[in-house]
């Protein structure tokens, strides 16, 4: 199962990276912490413009996990060009938050195992 979780972590990073790139982030750093009981992902970088739906996306990622959806559709994560897969990401993560200071954005995501 741990290998599967690593795959999911990779897909989650794919999706988040795609989201930030679509929103024209200038630089991007990624931190992944694979604990016994949780996966923590942080992404941070310099924004070139405001992300209009950031609050909505974070709120969506804080909605409840939907296990039946993530197993069936997880391979789609990171493949979209228009951001629709954030809905799926919301079904896979437990907590999300962001910190915006001037143009430096940090997004933190946690998935409990």
């Amino acid at each position: 199962m741990r290998r599967r979780e690593k795959y999911k972590a990779r897909k989650m990073i794919d999706e988040l990276t795609g989201y930030l790139l679509r929103n024209n982030i200038q630089s991007l750093s990624i931190y992944l912490d694979f604990d016994e009981d949780r996966i923590r992902i942080s992404l941070w970088g310099q924004l070139t413009e405001k992300i209009p739906d950031l609050d909505d996306v974070i709120r969506l990622m804080n909605s409840k996990r939907v296990p039946e959806m993530e197993e069936y559709y997880e391979h789609l994560l990171g493949t979209g060009t228009d951001g629709d897969d954030m809905n799926l990401l919301g079904a896979m993560v437990d907590e999300a938050s962001y910190n915006l200071r001037e143009d430096r954005l940090e997004i933190k995501v946690i998935r409990y195992l």
């Binding site: 969506l60 069936y72 391979h75 789609l76 951001g83 809905n87």
Partner: protein, 431 residues
């Protein structure tokens, strides 16, 4: 596009899982009781026996094969069993489960029954135990895998085996199908990038194609049939109007009698995964399901089609997926495209198989939602050609023939439309 407008605030009631389960329970019970409006209990009992021992491959309308009462009872019973599985597995009533639930209901009018569904569902359960996963994580596969249930019936009743021998062979095959389905279904998503909503249909088509290849290799054959009823239009229409009106009223009540945010829902592309229940709440989702039920029924009647078991299957599947991506704006272009093809091609546009092509062709609604009306019409047109050409590959043992076709269409057209869009946008930027 403002893709996420998650709103479950002030004016929208929060609906508990128990309330959602109760609604689905009443729906299933209602279908079972509706059977009594068509036939006596004795006729229904006899009819269910006929259904359970039928070959059930495409297109076997249980209303024509047995009687409408038995078909409604079978649909209600399968719905009830599906709901029980959802509850026992601990799965949520999300857009994904609603889509799968109504797909189970719809196809129980023409192909799925308890006998031929059990082994596939059991196979998926065994798979979940083998990989030490909870059953709720594979429940969608357990449902969609039953699209191959006619293969089970064919092996049991039509291959010339002794009865017990046939059932053993059929059940072993069904269990194996159920075990591989979860592995393949999620992988095949990459092929069409989520633009084919009936991904289970594409998976079932591939498995069906392999299965038929093996069967034919040993000198057996399975071919599609055409057992269809046309004489229950008015009665079925009344049942549908009652169901969709009930969905609409319950949805409006949940939504405090307003269509707030529906304009935003209509802007969603519908590409997998677009769960309207999490994005817009349960009330607005029910309203969209009701609208889509009326729209699909109107399409059938306006184009001169008959309301029968398979058509009910098409309508209920659309209703289910209206919690998971479909809405009028991304569906109507597909209807237009398929109907244009039917007007121009050699097939009868009023036939049940033609109407099914349009109803189930809405599996490609995300392409219309993403790339616009004209690409949507082209997609519907292409689908009408493809779907009539691939049934031979699986001999009708895959009930989700349109999902199979839709996978190829989506995988072929979406990249083309994407490139065209990029070129147009590039030119606009230069201007």
């Amino acid at each position: 596009m403002g893709l996420i407008s998650k709103i479950k605030e002030s004016k929208t009631r929060i609906v508990s899982e128990e309330e959602k389960m109760t609604l689905l329970f009443l729906f299933a019970l209602g279908l079972m009781l509706t059977s009594l409006l068509f036939n006596s209990p004795a006729e229904i009992y006899k009819g269910v026996g006929i259904i359970l021992t039928s070959k059930s491959n495409l297109i076997t309308d249980y209303m024509a094969l047995a009687n409408p009462g038995a078909a409604f009872f079978n649909a209600g019973f399968i719905s009830m069993m599906s709901l029980l599985l959802i509850k026992r597995s601990g799965a949520h009533i999300s857009g994904a489960t609603l889509a799968a639930f109504f797909t189970m209901t719809g196809f129980a009018f023409f192909g799925k029954n308890l006998f031929n569904s059990i082994p596939i569902t059991l196979g998926t359960y065994i798979y979940s135990r083998l990989v030490k996963a909870r059953f709720n994580t594979v429940i969608l596969s357990a449902f969609y895998g039953t699209g191959l249930s006619p293969f089970v019936s064919e092996l049991a009743f039509a291959m010339g085996f002794e009865p017990i021998q046939g059932i053993i062979v059929a059940y072993i095959s069904g269990i194996l199908i159920g075990m591989v389905f979860p592995l393949l279904s999620s992988r095949f998503l990459s092929f069409h990038q989520g633009y084919n909503l009936y991904n289970g249909g594409f998976t079932a088509g591939i498995i069906g194609m392999f299965s038929l290849g093996i069967v034919r290799m040993f000198g057996y054959d399975i071919s599609s049939v055409d057992i269809i009823s046309t004489e229950y239009n008015i009665n079925i229409l009344i049942v549908l109007i009652v169901i969709f009106t009930a969905l609409l009223l319950i949805g409006l009540y949940q939504q405090s009698w307003s269509l707030r945010e529906y304009d935003k829902l209509l802007k969603e592309t519908g590409r997998l995964v677009t769960d309207f229940t999490s994005l817009y709440g349960f009330g607005l989702t029910l309203i969209n399901m009701a609208f889509m039920g009326f729209l699909a029924t109107a399409y059938v009647l306006v184009t001169g089609g008959s309301l029968n078991g398979p058509i009910l299957g098409g309508i209920f599947t659309i209703v289910g997926f209206s919690a998971f991506g479909k809405h009028p704006k991304n569906t109507i272009p597909i209807f237009i495209g398929v109907y244009l093809a039917l007007l121009l091609n050699i097939y009868d546009p009023n036939s049940t198989s033609s109407t099914l092509g349009a109803l189930f062709g809405t599996t490609l609604a995300p392409i219309a939602g993403r790339y616009g009306v004209i690409p949507g019409i082209i997609t519907g047109f292409m689908h009408a050609g493809m779907v009539t050409n691939i049934t031979y590959l699986h001999g009708g043992v895959n009930l989700y023939n349109n999902g199979f076709s839709g996978g190829f269409i989506a995988a072929s057209l979406a990249p083309i439309f994407e490139r065209i869009e990029e070129v147009i946008n590039e030119k606009k930027r230069k201007v």
